[in-house]
Symmetry: C2
Subunit: 358 residues, 2 copies
């Protein structure tokens, strides 16, 4: 697919902070963004040249949107596959509807990953209580029950310590299609972010070690402190996944690292990722800019890291500390312009950058 | 003046690339921008939450604008002083109308600078041909004739090598109020960018050495290669000017450096400046972000330089090289989203960043 020039109009499905940071990166390159988002408060719209507020199922609005832009991408992996499939024949669209479909269903995702000879947690699809009982017997305890679809930030997940708590958790999600995953005794959680162009060229960022609390990312640390072999395995896994999906754009693979240094794929996020926010302040090209470059068909930029970083999310009322954070030496403050400081809501992040040691 | 929080709405007078980069920096901090600009194509509007297209003399539009924002700043020093004076009692406004007035008139500016015991070129105001003849006699040849007002990028300037060419140049500007400046035999042109808060706190960026062609900035290089004494004198001059103006925001002082290392003030730009674009990619806080912080009453951020840089402007058709520039190792490409590639028009810039040597 040939390159679109700097005057290109880039459509973004989704109006959250990831779309906002994609739009800011696109603006640096002279690219005009048009955000399509159903939600009322959409931080991305504040920095975009145009905005459409409509449901993802509104085909008239989608058709108009496709005419007004030169390419469309997503900031949110749960854009309905039907929306992607509707837009794909009408405009340059990346990542593909097929790639989204794989990432949206935890069973399809894990089966796909295993098919590439990459490890995941052991798992079983759960549609009925009988499935659940069989799966609990096979996978053992503890285990994790998750909805197959639409989970994020730990939502729709429960740790199962007994058959009874398994039944309660399945009831709590309304017996929606689910997946039971064996508990992985990991020593670290990590993620690797890669970017792949239409021509198959790809680049990777340094691996981040991630700390979660209550299912929400709190902190990403780079360098990760993991061994070179483990990091190389992580990168190789992400490249294999991106290639197999024919992925175009930035893609993130979340990983479990075991005590033996084994790398298990936990989740594929077919998009820019919270654990890559450090790349704005400490990589030669950010994950957002490389995503825009990939979608538009530009050469990908260097992912070289320019410092050692700790990125911390500002959740809910933590953002009220903006003044102290703005004054802190070496801290780069980012706020997303959200008005409501709900508990656990991602309001911004802070990246602390120190000179690179390794 | 107390701080405005991250939800603040910042008004920007002027819609060019400087306003665009101010808006992008403000967005990082969660601040929503409203651009007020008369011009048809306004690159800043593409990244702002709101825009008003009206002349600077439209008091109804200005009054509405003042009600819709929490603070107003400028990206363009030739915003009429009357506009600033109209807004100043209606909203938090920085820099002040008084500071703009000084910077808009080359005679007032030089007199002000000399009054601070800082050197400028020798100069004389020219209102009539008789003034011009007297000034040419007193200042000698060569000399530079400039309009007192509204000059930028070398426009409204002529180098005078004889009385005849002086008369021709004065006729060419329609005998508008002018200034004759003695030619300064400089060995380098430099600029120093400082930022000053409402509380008088100030920070300075490393001095840039600037190369011009045809009156337009081509390249800024940091570190400047000037002596430590010269750089210290430059910084001290800028702080003295900012303090004397009671300046709030980012202010730039353009300088001539003589063979003896003397520092002469050439021009005050009461705003962020082209020679500070490198700060986006190679300072801990950019000139744009510090400007926003100052206007809103936030603590100023560290100006520490993180690399050695060369910033080159992309003028007119040079921007057509975007693809090669995007692929160049170590180059950070910025494009302003302007549609018309007119000769000499600033379409973007490229910052090449290398590890810091000094």
């Amino acid at each position: 697919m040939g390159p679109l020039g700097p005057g290109a109009r880039l459509g973004i499905l989704g109006g959250g902070q990831l779309g906002r940071m994609i739009a800011l990166a696109a603006a640096r390159l002279g690219v005009k963004c048009h955000v399509f988002a159903p939600e009322g408060e959409a931080p991305a719209c504040d920095v975009a040249a145009a905005a459409t507020r409509a449901p993802y199922t509104d085909e008239d609005a989608l058709a108009r949107f496709a005419e007004q832009v030169d390419a469309v991408t997503i900031e949110f992996e749960n854009v309905p596959v039907e929306t992607a499939a509707f837009l794909e024949p009408r405009t340059r669209f990346a990542p593909s509807a097929d790639a989204l479909a794989v990432a949206q269903d935890r069973v399809a995702e894990k089966s796909f990953v295993n098919g590439l000879s990459l490890q995941t947690a052991l798992f079983a699809p759960v549609s009925t209580t009988a499935d659940l009982d069989g799966a609990l017997k096979r996978l053992g305890l503890p285990a994790i029950l998750k909805t197959r679809r639409l989970g994020y930030d730990g939502k729709g997940q429960a740790r199962i310590k007994s058959a009874e708590s398994g039944h309660a958790a399945f009831a709590a999600i309304g017996e929606a299609p689910a997946i039971l995953e064996a508990f992985v005794p990991f020593v670290a959680e990590a993620s690797v972010i890669v970017c792949r162009g239409w021509d198959g060229a790809h680049v990777a960022y340094d691996v981040a070690r991630n700390l979660h609390a209550g299912g929400i990312l709190r902190e990403s640390v780079v360098p990760s402190g993991l061994s070179r072999t483990t990091e190389e395995a992580a990168r190789a896994a992400a490249f294999r996944i991106a290639d197999a999906l024919g992925f175009v754009g930035t893609l993130t693979v979340e990983l479990f690292i075991t005590a033996e240094g084994d790398v298990l794929v936990n989740e594929i996020a077919p998009r820019v990722h919270n654990s890559g926010h450090w790349t704005i302040d400490a990589a030669e090209t950010s994950q957002f800019e490389n995503h825009v470059r990939a979608v538009l068909g530009w050469p990908l930029g260097s992912t070289r890291r320019t410092g050692d970083v700790v990125m911390r999310n500002l959740l809910g009322a933590e953002a009220a500390e903006w003044r102290a954070l703005a004054a802190r030496e070496g801290a780069r403050l980012h706020l997303y312009g959200k008005e409501e400081m709900a508990t656990g809501r991602k309001m911004g992040h802070v990246t602390e950058v120190r000179p690179r040691q390794m």
